[in-house]
Symmetry: C2
Subunit: 423 residues, 2 copies
């Protein structure tokens, strides 16, 4: 392999992991590393601090550098920095899911015009090989469905809530103490991170540009210990699921929300910070990829993997990896959540009187919703009852209407939660 | 993509599947299909029978054909046919695990000399992407361990034995009736098929040529309903596991045998004809790939995937996919089964007297074997007792010695089974 010169932008956990892994590949020379704080102590043996700069443009404007590794994250100023790099004919390897979900089309178009490649295996599911397989060895397939656990933090929190019967707040606090969740956990617990990833993965799987702004997104902050307990009794576990599917009419349904997942489903068995992607296509059928979705080392596996593929191909040809080129010419026709069909779990707080079940049954029926299970979970001190309903496949808009009507009824005190169900 | 001309050798289930999938790719033109019996009725709409020939050399000697797809199987005469194809500068896409396991080195060397590529995603685990990911996106990793379910037939039989408490013979018969097992099931149930696959996968994962003849191989024919029942009571399920690992001393341990797999292990949850590969490497950690390991459509996904990658790369360059080139320069130093260390399940038929347990304990102790569990499974009509022992990690040679000694003891009637354990 011919020697390649790279610059690294961002030198946090992932950047440091990439640096360490690259020490085993003498043909890859790190020319420069752009950091926020040049004086910060780095925990690396024999580290040459003259590699560091605070100016990323020293990398993207450096004519000696062939490939820019971007592991800084964020859109501003990263978009401008990578735009400059691409215009300077540098190939890009990035782990930046937010940037690709929000600005991917512009970057890929620019890359095409400048005949460079952007590789981003690390942007989705950390160390799990999914982007490259979808673009290469699976390319004979028409992929029609993805259902995935793409956020390790929320899966960790939900696992601990289930295993130790913790509240969301307590599980989050423990996850923060152990470094699984950030001080401001919004990006993870509200589903933003999973939404960026499913936007990227759906786009390459369905060959249509999925708009991040049209992805329905719901986090895990409203999941209660009671929801997890009820789900367990019904044979389910609760997971934050990122899904994408091509409907029979060609429309695309992409969303992120918690789901009750049947215990026998392989995704239900994915615990702690592990990620897992189930992909359905013709002719391959169902495939499941499971592994570490974050962390310095697994992410470095994907970043350096992309880099070595690029290096190897650049050796053979000046226009490498035709299959890695992203075109976002066709725009996905994404449907609204109201138009989706799902099975539902509805947790209802009702007056403890025999009429409540009747009211629920009547209002559901009026809104075309068939109930498959109804379970009363005892009574509370305030003489209300917790009632859990599982519905057959129903239209979301009908369910939302039913919930509004239920709330108008005297005997219904509150809708405690509405979750979708995967069997 | 430029138009490519291909010939297909072999037109059974997989060949027909490949033909059907290729109908969606107008840039791939099928020039010729070599079959055993040209007059056999083919169940394909609007099939052009003039494509058929009984002479595969009409394909490999045809100057118009760029790529040969070989899905005929076997070593004779396939090796000679593919040798001729490579000498005629044709790229090869093959699903032939036996040929690659037995003659891979020679074929890859010849391909290198003739500057052609051999791709073989379909040879291991059917539709699951594993060969291409290991060679491309995972290439930053030092892979140290593979543990896999690579044979769908045996996993189906073992699943049915466990679920329906069937004997091996009954489960095999049912699998044959349903088409999951062949009339002569030897290749599957004696572990040959899994051994070919783990030879190929270990070779590319460890970057050292693994000799198929040095792989310890044991099938599932001796597994009894009682073994499965005992395993279940101890928290295990029995699977045919193909494994490969790099030991600390650099030696390579590759083998195929049934194992008791702890119920919480993800491989224990893989049911019926599904395949699953667990791969451990640095920096990626543990990855698990699960999907259909056989069948016309999943296998066609891999064959056509290889073909499209090759086509796409040939368009960009005359020397495509540098990473796909196999070199078998370094030979793996494979250890014998006697030198491996494992935990063991030993099923012993003993006289129903109090001395038996003592004899077992004494002989195990003398041979450096620590027992972690011992369980007597009631008594039989002939006044013998079934005793099941689970050992701590012990050397295989020590265990074999202990079994010989046990058999010499008056109170030990028989060693009913010896299986290895994966926790």
């Amino acid at each position: 392999m011919k020697a390649l010169k790279v610059g690294i932008i961002g030198f946090g956990t992932v950047g440091t992991g990439v640096y360490k892994v690259l020490q085993s590949f003498p043909n890859i020379e790190i020319k420069k590393i752009a950091v926020k704080n040049i004086t910060k102590k780095r925990n690396i043996e024999n580290f040459d601090t003259t590699l560091l700069t605070q100016d990323p443009y020293e990398i993207v404007n450096n004519p000696e550098i062939d490939i820019v590794i971007e592991v800084a994250g964020g859109v501003t100023p990263t978009f401008d920095i990578l735009t400059a790099a691409i215009k300077n004919k540098k190939h890009i390897v990035t782990a930046n899911k937010e940037l690709l979900a929000k600005k991917g089309s512009e970057l890929f178009q620019l890359a095409k015009e400048n005949k460079v490649i952007i590789l981003y295996e690390a942007a989705v599911a950390g160390g799990i090989p999914i982007i490259m397989p979808v673009k290469t060895i699976l390319c004979a397939n028409k992929i029609t469905k993805i259902a995935a656990i793409l956020n390790g933090t929320t899966n960790y929190i939900l696992t601990k809530m289930a295993e130790k019967e913790l509240s969301y707040e307590t599980a989050l606090k423990q996850a923060q103490e152990l470094g699984y969740a950030e001080t401001d956990p919004t990006g993870d617990v509200e589903g933003y991170d999973a939404a960026y990833k499913i936007a990227i993965l759906s786009t390459i799987s369905f060959n249509k540009k999925v708009d991040i702004n049209k992805i329905y997104r719901e986090g895990i902050t409203k999941i209660t210990a009671q929801d997890i307990k009820s789900a367990k009794e019904l044979g389910y576990t609760i997971k934050l699921i990122a899904m994408g599917q091509v409907l029979e009419n060609g429309k695309i349904d992409v969303r992120v929300h918690p789901m009750l997942v049947a215990k026998k489903h392989l995704l239900a068995k994915v615990k702690n910070a592990t990620n897992s992607i189930m992909l359905t296509g013709y002719p391959v059928g169902d495939l499941i990829f499971t592994g570490a979705g974050a962390g310095a080392e697994p992410t470095a596996s994907s970043v350096v993997g992309d880099l070595l593929v690029l290096a190897s191909e650049l050796e053979a040809s000046d226009s490498p990896i035709p299959q890695a080129i992203c075109n976002h010419n066709e725009i996905a026709d994404q449907i609204n959540i109201g138009d989706t069909y799902n099975e539902y779990y509805i947790a209802i707080n009702a007056s403890n009187n025999p009429g409540a079940i009747g009211v629920i049954g009547t209002i559901c029926g009026k809104n075309n919703i068939n109930i498959s299970t109804i379970m009363q979970k005892g009574t509370k001190d305030d003489n209300t009852a917790e009632i859990v309903v599982i519905t057959e496949r129903s239209k979301e808009a009908d369910v939302q209407n039913a919930l509004k009507e239920l709330l108008k009824s005297d005997c219904i005190k509150n809708i405690d939660n509405l979750l979708r169900v995967m069997n």
